[in-house]
């Protein structure tokens, strides 16, 4: 369990994190989303006890990170943006060292072996960390974060710099870990949140702008679903036919190609008009080439939230904080 309340971090006159509050229950994956420099890394560094907050509290697994740092840190695994590897140690040596300072006392060797297997780095166990590829570094970083079986995992952009296959594997691993751990992961890759997280906290310029489930966020932006259609036939006739279907509020011709058209059909909230749309095409004797629901992507939600912010907020210079 992670509970963050009214967290604020100031560097001199600059506020990197401004009154951020959120909560992640046990076994939950919370996605921390925001553009670069939004304050994600700073928030994570406070949760992990790397730096103290200016104001507010962070409680990890029941321990306040400021008042009981040792107890909180024992229960936290942290993967920083760059995996904290010692280039001159082999993977095994490194994980043995981490296990020791993370307070693992019994069967360190067995634990290291198990973790290496779990994060698919066992084949590189005798290689120096400095000679690993980016993908392996990231996985060794993940291995060091889970070696002491922490209740809480804080992962700062865990899939950054990985190739697509590794990204899928890493997400899979994170989902597996979620059963036994509370996970906070930050990212600026939106599909990642949709695929792995139960809850999303969107942060911009240090402030929380939204906190919801991925679906909830999508719904919040658009009340209805839109349908993407590609049909063969005279474009205007097809448009008229689609328009006449009950429940349809709007038909936009997005594109016209020779004898086919691409249509975006909006319908009333709560009504599914796909069946009727298909019938309308068939009745007209035209050809239905493609039809699929158009999901409002998290990208749209994100962009819309960010622009909302801009209109309400006076424009400020983009802060450069996270990698200080």
């Amino acid at each position: 369990m992670i509970e963050v309340q009214h967290l604020t971090k100031r560097y001199g006159p600059f506020t990197a994190v401004d009154n951020v509050s959120f909560r992640a229950e046990s076994g939950e994956i919370l996605g921390f989303l925001g553009p670069n420099g939004a304050g994600k890394t700073t928030t994570m560094r406070i949760i992990t006890g790397y730096m103290p907050a200016t104001e507010g509290t962070a409680v990890v697994a029941g321990f306040d990170v400021f008042d009981k740092p040792i107890e909180a840190k024992k229960r936290t695994g942290y993967l920083p943006e760059t995996p904290p590897l010692y280039p001159d140690m082999t993977v095994r040596e490194y994980l043995m060292f981490v296990a020791k300072i993370k307070g693992v006392r019994k069967d360190i060797k067995g634990r290291v072996d198990a973790v290496m297997k779990r994060t698919w780095v066992a084949d590189m166990s005798e290689r120096q960390c400095g000679r690993l590829s980016k993908g392996y570094r990231q996985r060794v970083g993940l291995a060091q974060a889970i070696i002491h079986e922490p209740e809480v995992l804080v992962l700062d952009e865990p899939t950054a710099g990985l190739d697509p296959k590794q990204i899928i594997e890493t997400r899979q691993l994170i989902r597996e870990l979620a059963g036994t751990h509370t996970i906070v992961l930050s990212t600026h890759i939106l599909p990642e949140v949709a695929q792995t997280c139960k809850k999303v906290v969107i942060i911009n310029k240090g402030k929380v702008v939204a906190e919801d489930t991925p679906d909830g966020l999508t719904e919040r932006l658009h009340g209805s679903i839109s349908v993407y259609m590609q049909a063969q036939g005279p474009v205007e006739d097809v448009q008229r036919a689609l328009q006449s279907v009950r429940g349809v509020t709007r038909v936009i011709v997005a594109e016209t190609k020779d004898d086919a058209g691409v249509f975006e059909v909006d319908s009333e909230k709560g009504s599914d008009v796909r069946r009727e749309l298909a019938s309308a095409i068939v009745r007209g004797g035209w050809g239905l080439l493609e039809m699929r629901p158009m999901r409002v992507s998290l990208e749209d939600v994100f962009v819309s939230l960010m622009t909302e912010e801009k209109t309400t907020d006076e424009p400020a210079a983009e802060p450069e904080v996270a990698n200080a």
Partner: protein, 255 residues
């Protein structure tokens, strides 16, 4: 304590898996050997002249050979130690491993003691090489072992002071060259601080004399363990490590 040992072990591993340990120990041995040879030859000639009936001082191998060799050894430390300490914190910051240490369930004191212990162990390994030179003396002569022991104790403590200053400076900067340069400058300053003693009046002179890191070494090299000097060195080390701790802590707050 386990954490301290784990960190010290990692430090040592880093020294020995990079060229640092070998270069440091190698050059220290080379220079130590040179000084040893030079002073031994001088001592030999003196004793030959004595043997031929020429008047000379009383020949004492402890005072005429071992003492001066140890004083010369402290000069080597001056140059060698910045290379040992310059990377201790700056490297962690550069690699990002400082995030691992500071988010692990270890206290700042444990981290600093671990690093200090690691550096002191490397230093002990450096000094261990000189057992070769000493055993030659014991094989071919009969020096007294007690002044040698106090001399080495003094050398060890003085090295500890240098290392604690070096750690402090390393914790203040990300840049290793800056760390090395500043460490060297501070070492040298501590070394020569009493040179102006004669010109600054008696009170200031006494203060400077007391601050001088070499002044306290003389008694050790003569075989005297004075608690005054012992306390100077130990409190110097403790203060250096304490400041390092504060520096790391303030770094945390500033981010």
């Amino acid at each position: 304590m386990r954490n301290v040992l784990a960190i010290a072990e990692r430090e040592l591993r880093a020294y020995f898996s990079s060229p640092i340990a070998y270069v440091v120990i190698g050059f220290f041995s080379l220079l130590y050997g040179y000084f040893f040879y030079a002073l031994l030859s001088y001592f030999e000639r003196q004793s030959m002249q004595m043997g031929m009936g020429q008047p000379g001082q009383v020949m004492n191998i402890n005072q005429m050979l071992i003492g001066p060799v140890l004083v010369n050894a402290t000069v080597i430390l001056l140059f060698v130690f910045p290379a040992i300490t310059m990377r201790t914190y700056s490297e962690e910051k550069r690699q990002g491993t400082i995030e691992l240490l500071l988010t692990s369930p270890v206290t700042d004191v444990e981290i600093i003691l671990g690093k200090f212990l690691g550096a002191m162990t490397l230093y002990a390994a450096m000094l261990a090489v000189t057992i070769i030179h000493l055993s030659l003396l014991f094989i071919y002569g009969n020096p007294e072992w007690k002044p040698i022991a106090t001399g080495y104790l003094g050398l060890f403590l003085m090295g500890g002071c240098f290392l604690s200053v070096g750690l402090l400076i390393s914790s203040l900067t990300k840049n290793q060259v800056v760390a090395a340069m500043a460490t060297f400058a501070v070492f040298l300053m501590l070394w020569v601080i009493n040179w102006i003693g004669a010109f600054v009046g008696p009170t200031a002179q006494a203060v400077l004399q007391h601050l001088s890191i070499t002044e306290h070494f003389d008694d050790f090299s003569r075989g005297i363990i004075d608690t005054k000097h012992l306390i100077y060195y130990l409190s110097f080390i403790a203060f250096g490590l304490f400041l390092t701790m504060k520096s790391v802590d303030s770094e945390r707050w500033r981010g």
